[in-house]
Amino acid sequence: MRSFSYERATSPGAAAAAAAGTANAKFIAGGTNLLDLMKLEIETPAHLIDVNGLALDRIDETADGGLRIGALVRNTDLAADRRVRRDYAVLSRALLAGASGQLRNKATTAGNLLQRTRCPYFYDANLPCNKRKPGSGCAAIGGFSRQHAVIGASEACIATHPSDMAVAMRVLDVVVETVRPDGATRSIPIADLHRLPGDSPEIETTLQPGELITAVALPKPVGGTQAYRKVRDRASYAFALVSVAAIVQGDGTGRVALGGVAHKPWRVEAAESELPRGAKAVTARLLADAKPTKDNAYKLPLAERTLAAVLREARG
C-alpha cells in the first residue's frame, strides 16, 4: 500500500472542500472496497478523509412520505430497517443478497453506490485496463469475458457495476443528495448517477471532484409485489451473473431493472409496458441493443428466465 496522510472530517461541507483542495484525496467510509484496492495499489490516494464521524447514519421520514437514508447507514441496518422491510422489500432483498455479514456491517449506503467493478482485468495490474490506466487498452475484450457487460459497453470497457443495492435503488427511482466543495447541495436521480463507459471508463459517475454523497432519498412507497432475484456461481457471497429487481402491481404493470449486465443498473422504462405480455417481451426490449461476447451470451436467456421466475412468483 502507498503511504497517505489522514484526517477525520468534521462536517460534510468541510469534507468536500478538503477533498477538492488536496491533491489525490479520497473519502473513506466503510473502506471495504477502497482498502482492498489500495492493498493492490489499484487505488493510490495520497490523502484519506475519514467521513465516519459525520452524523449521516440516520434513516428519517421525509415530508412526501418517503425515507431519507443517510450516506453512512450501514448495509445491515438499511436491510433490517422495519420501514424498508415493509415498504421497500426489493431494497432489503438486494442488500441481503450482497457480500457477507461482516462486510454488510461495515459497508455504507454511499460507498455501495460508488464501489468499483470486480472485472478481473481491472484487478490485475499486469494487464491493460482503460479504467485503471486510461489509454492502456482493455484486456477483457478478447479475454475471458464470462462475467462482463452485454449491453451499454464500449470499445474501451466491458466492465459491469457490481452492486445489488444500486439495482434495487434504480427500480425504486431514488434520488442521491450531495454536497459540493463550494457548499452547494444538489439532488441527482439515480438514473443519472452512474455513467456508461464510452471512451472514458475511468469516470464512473456524474459526481464532480470532491462532491460528497450525504443521503439517498426513497420516494413514498410504491406498493406492489417486490422481488430481487440474483443468479450467481455459488449460493452465497458471490457477485451476480445476472440479477433482476422487480416491482409488480396487481394489474400486471410494474418496473424492472437488471444487474450484472452493464456498467450501471440497467433499466429501460419503455420496456416495462411489455410486462403484461411476459418476460420474453420485456427482455426483448430491455436488451434489444445487447452486444454480448461468445463467453457471456448466456446472460441474455438467463435474464429472460430469471425475470420469468420473478414474474411467476409475483403473480402467485
Binding site: R85, R86, A99, L103
Partner: protein
Amino acid sequence: MTRVSFDVNGETHQLELDTRTTLLDALREHLHLTGTKKGCDHGQCGACTVIVDGRRINSCLTLAVMHHGDEITTIEGLGTPDGLHPLQAAFVEHDGYQCGYCTPGQICSAVGVLAEVKAGIPSHVTADLNAPLRLTNAELRERMSGNICRCGAYSNIAEAISEVAGRSA
C-alpha cells in the same frame, strides 16, 4: 504516523501507527494478540473477524486509525483456556475444526451471528422479512458464508453454533 486509542478486550491501548496499518495488523503486530488470523487479507475468508462495538467485521479491511474510541473484542477476549466461551466449548465438543486457523474468525463471526439473529436482522434466506426469525441450518449457513474453512469442517461448525443458539434461545 497518527495517534489512535481504542479498547481491546476491556483494556485501553494508545498507539502511534503508520496510517496504512490495518486493524488486523495493529492487533497482531503491535498488541501481539495473534489469535486473530490473517488469511486472504482481502475480506474474502473471514479469518480476521473481530467484534467492534458489538458487530462482527473483517479487521483486514479497516484501518486502525479509523477506530479511535472503539471497543474491540478478539478471540482472546471471549474466553480463557480455563473459562471457555460457550461457543469455544461447543467447537471443541463438536470438533468444529481441523487445523484451527479459521477457528478464531469462525467463533467471533458466530458471536456476531447470534447477536444479529437476536436483534431480528433478516438474511438472504429469510422467507418472510416481516416475521419473527428462526435460526435454521439454512439461516446459519447463509449467515456464516463470509467465513471459509479450508479443512471443510462446516457441518461440525454448524452443529456447534446450533447447539449454543438453541441453548441461548
